[in-house]
Symmetry: C2
Subunit: 533 residues, 2 copies
């Protein structure tokens, strides 16, 4: 039986662009994993790995025109955004090269023998080694930064783990192109090209998570898909870590004093954050606690004005578009929920894509593009404090350009809503100048509550920028993430390593990283304290 074709689709029209690959058969997945496994010894060479990461960045940068054109054709994210996303992606590859060079990630700890202790302590030398082949599941919404050449791949390669990427069906051509560029860079750095392989297909993703030689997985996507893979990873005869970023509401609290002070600025800022990338960011603010009363009204009015002025956009695929339209409909139907600016199908676009139809042809006499318009809903916050009932739906992520304002009567009600939230990637506070200065108000308690429910806490900013930086944390309590690790930032490398301790191993038999003379000049903790290299 011939393998099923993989098509690149134009989300603006719903039409197939080209056939770019075939869905990977079980045999193909097995071959990819085995080839990756065989490449691990070569990738263990730190110097070659550093060269590879830098060559990958350069190769991708040089191909910017082709990469951006291909990605735009199958995601409709636009040239400006995709050019920026590629720059972020190659910056990330270089940042991991620097991090591997610095060597702190090896977490070297050396305890010298101490015969004076009872019992005498033997010599112990510990560092971290790569796990083995890593499976990466690419995201729909970041065809570069969270896909084939993205953070999971970059951090796994940096750790010394070969990668098999399961491409996202929304951008198979981009995935193939980026995969080829990474493989070319590997060869340039003297490594086998099989340190990275791209596979396609839903079944291939399942094969991958169950493969005995796969040692860990990274994932960015939906709660449903991520949980299914998490469960499969845990159910293996040998369970493996599954680092998934699944879903997040990214609550925002606007205090009464902040609304009084700068309602218009907050409303406009929120509009920018919730419509960025057509509302398809994992860190889109999806629930905004706004005080009742005139100041809160001004926030809503400013939001309405900005959102109404936002051009309709194209979502990543037709299924997402249908889900967005259905999700909005379901939420608007709840008693007490209003839609000051109704999100929905773009003015000239059809309301539904029609699952099997030639959708482009149904777009009628308008622009012909399958756009959606941004909007927002409003609901009394007290409904969200009800432990049972239909309003739980408003505490679930709705992917696309919509957010929910929950109008609260007082600080206790806002805290009660926060108390009902599941885990989040981010939690944002909009504070007044006096509150931010710590002079007054509920800021300290809000900060503590925000830290209890999210991996990143912001004050007077918006969560939609996730800086690639050593101190970044992009994760959070479930379902924001399935582990306590991060998928962005320097510590993302920790996901793909395990410690090994060497006891009383003669210096000449130790890995160079652990030798007494520190020939590689690495940072270490010696006898419990940091030691200079």
């Amino acid at each position: 039986m011939a393998a099923a074709p993989v098509w690149s689709v134009d989300p603006r029209t719903g039409k197939q662009r080209e056939q770019v690959a075939a869905q990977a058969t079980p045999q193909a997945v097995d071959a990819a994993v085995r080839a990756a496994h065989d490449a691990r010894t070569a990738l263990a060479d730190r110097t070659a790995r550093i060269a590879f990461l830098r060559a990958a960045a350069r190769t991708l940068d040089e191909a910017v025109a082709a990469v951006v054109e291909t990605a735009d054709a199958e995601t409709a994210l636009g040239t400006a955004r995709l050019t920026g996303e590629l720059a972020r992606t190659t910056y990330q590859l270089r940042a991991f090269a620097d991090l591997v060079e610095e060597g702190g990630y090896l977490d070297i700890r050396i305890d010298h023998a101490d015969p004076a202790l009872t019992p005498p302590r033997p010599e112990l030398r510990r560092y971290k080694v790569p796990l083995g082949v890593v499976a990466v599941y690419a995201a729909s919404n970041f065809p570069l930064a969270f896909s084939v050449p993205g953070g999971d791949t970059a951090s796994a390669l940096a750790a010394g783990c070969p990668v098999v990427v399961k491409a996202h069906p929304d951008h198979p051509a981009t995935s193939e192109l980026c995969g080829a560029l990474l493989r070319r860079a590997a060869v340039e750095a003297g490594l086998p090209e099989d340190v990275v392989t791209v596979v396609h297909g839903f079944d291939a993703g399942l094969e991958l998570i169950r493969h005995p030689l796969v040692t860990a997985a990274g994932f960015t996507g939906s709660i449903r898909g991520g949980r299914a893979l998490f469960d499969a990873a845990a159910a293996r005869p040998v369970p493996i870590p599954f680092h998934g970023e699944l879903g997040s509401l990214n609550p925002v609290v606007v205090t009464a004093a902040a609304a009084a002070e700068r309602a218009e600025e907050i409303g406009a800022g929120l509009a920018g954050a919730m419509t960025l990338g057509v509302g398809q960011f994992c860190v889109k603010p999806g629930l905004v606690l706004v005080p009742e009363g005139p100041d809160g009204d001004r926030v809503a009015e400013a939001l309405a004005k900005s959102v109404a002025g936002t051009a309709p956009g194209v979502l990543l695929d037709l299924r997402m578009r249908d889900n967005f339209l259905a999700g909005v409909r379901e939420r608007v139907a709840l008693p007490g929920v209003t839609a000051p600016v109704a999100p929905g199908a773009g003015a000239d676009a059809p309301a539904e894509s029609g699952a099997d139809a030639d959708v482009g042809a149904r777009a009628g006499g308008g622009s012909g593009e399958l756009t959606v318009g941004a909007g927002f809903l409003s609901v009394p916050a007290r409904h969200l404090t009800e432990p049972e009932g239909p309003y739980g739906l408003l505490l679930e992520e709705c992917f696309g350009p919509v957010t929910v304002l929950a109008r609260y009567a007082g600080q206790d009600e806002a805290a009660a809503v926060l108390g009902r939230l599941p885990g989040n990637l981010s939690a944002t506070l909009q504070l007044s100048d006096a509150e931010a200065a710590g002079a007054a108000g509920p800021a300290a308690e809000l900060i503590a509550q925000a830290a209890s429910l999210a991996g990143r806490v912001l004050v007077n900013g918006w969560p939609t920028g996730v800086a690639v930086a050593p101190a970044q944390h992009h994760g959070g309590p479930y379902p924001a993430a399935t582990s306590h690790s991060t998928s962005v930032g320097g510590t993302a490398i920790e996901r793909w390593l395990r410690p090994v301790a060497y006891q009383s191993v003669p210096d000449g038999l130790l890995p160079a990283e652990l030798r007494e003379g520190n020939p590689l000049g690495l940072p270490r903790r010696v006898d419990g304290s940091p030691a200079n290299a």
Copy 2:
């Protein structure tokens, strides 16, 4: 319905000593978890926590006579061993106090804002916060060091996580006594006593792992029990990390040159390691690769001599004794397996305990103690390279004073056996002087193979001492452990923490640990590099 009683049993006779507690009802487990959850805010105070850990160590040390007497009465591990184990336990509590004081475990990373970057980088400040209530499942074989006051409890408390311990049924009186001492120490340090609670009963253990307020678990025990709890932790609506130490063969390779050089020393050392604690150590060497031929024969003879001279010992409980005797019988029955010194029931002791009988009364006219004698088996290593068939049994841990010598024909055969092993806590190489000096032989390859299958690699030592030290790693690939963390050593604290990043949060609203002026004098990485406090 009255809660079922929990009895302390004398394993020397199989007789009930006293009723020390009741099995915890679901309501009691819920109450314990809620009380622990409520105590977390008090425990977040680092200074109080440090005082508590030190008070706990002192309180336990002061009660050494009662603790050792109670533990010996229900484990038969002996006064000397238990006195040493308590010293290890209180050393560990103090070591974690020192580690919390030093503060490196917070893994603080600060990136200052950089407006020159594209896009501009906001200020990010990250550290680690405690997860919440931790469930600890105590081990049978270390009633102190891996039980109520043991490493899981000490590291969780050090992290700031209140603990509910599920006591092991082999030492409920010791568990109650230690729990009371820890709770007294908490009060002394100004903390609520509910930062530690002890519960009893199999069902209580299941309730605990499913409780919504439990955020992580630590476990030391069998593969079967550990995997069941791991599965329950993964299947929760909100999955939690389960750090289990399940089972390990702890392979030892004796090279031909090492056997030629010091066969007698190796045989005697192995006898000591495999009979320590009546063979009930997680790191007991359970499979020893010894060369065929006269030098290997001398290793076996020295082992036989030492083991035959070892006094019979009492196992921790009757079920273990039955399992040990059955496990040995099953292994000896394999074709080609010999028993140079047959392990079995002690000379004056009954062969089987009889599950429901008054066992003490059946011990007959001998010592009356339910002892077992140590021994070892021997098998051609080639049988262990067979991918199918009955010899897989020899690659499974057999708890108790027995080990298996696998006699290998050449280095390739030894490597093939190692290649079939599941994950291990330790792997040990016995090398000749020349090999240890790196001058000759297969040592480098053996070291690499050992590191691929174990969390700790030893040369010319024995794995049965697991030093409490910053660089220790007591874990390893599954089933040695269910995660990549350690249950002994400084980094054990990392299991109970998650990172939080603060973006653009004003200094006055930051946790003290993250403020620009570093008021607590903590070690940090600033803008990607280590900074002095």
